[in-house]
């Protein structure tokens, strides 16, 4: 088979499709479907069977629009916040390695303080979050390092919304798996979550809208077209959003 490209392709700017004159045979060959090897399919089936069944309802991001209303040409990144949620998001989204603190700065101070008090390199914030306080101690800052007992507190101020949950690689991105509880102040939603060491990608779901945490780094591995952030949990060094 011989190819028949144009003689002077540089002289033909082509349309917006790119000038494919002379590439018809090539494209036809490239379009040939790949066969699926039975061994590979069996391997995939086995891996899928080992996973827990994803649980939840389909999330409709942004302004509600039924599938029937959709023209099928949707923008996977084109979600919009409702005004109320946008205000809530603008207030603050903070992932805290929980030390009973409400700000990152106090968290950092606690880490530094803990390092001095204990002589450890850094008090792991995640560990301190769930480690039992010493008798007579009302503050978890005195917790000792315990890598087997860890937790990260996720907190978001979102007044006036009905429900907030957390999705991430740790719960299969299931919006029903990790609901946040509304604190007594009526505006702060929190959840304490045990997390293994490593990098965790997450996002909040506020009234069915997925919102990344603007106070934390955006995940560069945002391969679902979903806004998401990540948090690093290091049992020896603390939690770093």
């Amino acid at each position: 088979m011989r190819f028949s490209p144009m003689e002077n392709p540089g002289e033909h700017p082509g349309g917006e499709q790119g000038d494919v004159t002379g590439l018809e045979d090539v494209i036809a060959e490239l379009r040939r479907e790949e066969t699926v090897r039975p061994e590979w399919r069996a391997r995939l089936e086995h891996e899928l069977a080992s996973l827990s069944v994803p649980d939840g309802t389909v999330v409709q991001r942004g302004h509600a629009r039924s599938r029937e209303e959709s023209d099928g040409r949707t923008n996977t990144r084109g979600w919009h916040l409702r005004p109320l949620t946008a205000m809530a998001a603008a207030l603050t989204f903070t992932v805290l390695g929980a030390l009973g603190s409400s700000t990152v700065s106090s968290l950092l101070r606690a880490r530094e303080s803990g390092a001095r008090e204990t002589g450890a390199a850094v008090i792991p914030a995640a560990t301190a979050a769930t480690a039992p306080a010493s008798p007579g101690t009302s503050n978890a800052r005195t917790a000792t390092v315990d890598g087997s007992n860890t937790g990260v507190r996720f907190a978001v101020q979102a007044p006036g919304v009905k429900r907030v949950s957390l999705v991430g690689d740790f719960n299969g991105w299931n919006p029903a798996a990790t609901p946040l509880s509304l604190s007594r102040d009526g505006r702060t939603w929190t959840v304490l979550l045990p997390l293994t060491a490593g990098r965790h990608t997450y996002a909040f779901v506020i009234d069915d809208e997925i919102v990344a945490d603007p106070a934390a780094p955006r995940s560069i591995d945002d391969d679902f077209g979903t806004p998401s952030s990540f948090v690093l949990v290091d049992h020896s060094r603390g939690t770093m959003p």
């Binding site: 490209p5 996973l51 923008n75 299969g172």
Partner: protein, 179 residues
């Protein structure tokens, strides 16, 4: 049954529904990944990873999005990651032997030669041009869809496709002249 129906059934606990979805889209995924990575073996790994990630992320699937577009968004990123890893290792998995051995039509020498040459020509394209060309002309997606899944502006995509076409013709003409 539409893709959307199968997504809903999967989320309702029907595990076979996702298998049906996977069967429906796997050939196209393998095709894109094979052309993109130049290796059938790598394409299988990336496709499997893509389908597993899609399965896990199904609860956040946007109902307004075509499942195929969503799945390809994951696949494109998996391929980029695979290429990135490969670049760090400073090696290219030679596709020729792999393609020949695993080809569905190994007995047709002319076709095999063409596929090998196409693999070589595609490999000569910068990855971003190869990606745009394959999505546009092989997977036949609209520019707006490609822009959504890649985060690249439509105008930039058109330029990449145009340059890919020109480069491919040059590469293949040189081959044609040589044989």
């Amino acid at each position: 049954m539409t893709d959307f129906d199968l997504v809903r059934r999967t989320l309702s606990g029907d595990t076979l529904a996702f298998t049906t979805l996977a069967d429906r889209h796997t050939p196209a995924c393998l095709r894109f990944a094979s052309r993109m990575l130049g290796s059938r073996e790598d394409a299988e790994d990336v496709t499997q990873d893509t389908l597993v990630r899609a399965y896990r992320a199904l609860p956040v699937f946007d109902a307004r999005t075509e499942f195929r577009t969503w799945l390809f968004a994951i696949l494109v990123n998996r391929c980029r990651s695979a290429l990135s890893v490969r670049a760090r290792r400073s090696r290219w998995m030679q596709a020729d032997e792999d393609a020949v051995q695993r080809s569905a039509v190994p007995s047709d020498a002319a076709i095999t030669e063409l596929r090998v040459e196409l693999t070589r020509a595609l490999r000569m394209l910068p990855a971003e041009q190869r990606e745009a060309f394959l999505l546009k002309h092989v997977e036949q997606l609209e520019y707006t869809e490609i822009a959504d899944m890649t985060g690249v502006q439509v105008s930039a995509l058109k330029m990449r496709v145009q340059r890919a076409c020109t480069r491919l013709k040059q590469e293949l003409r040189e081959y044609d002249d040589a044989v």
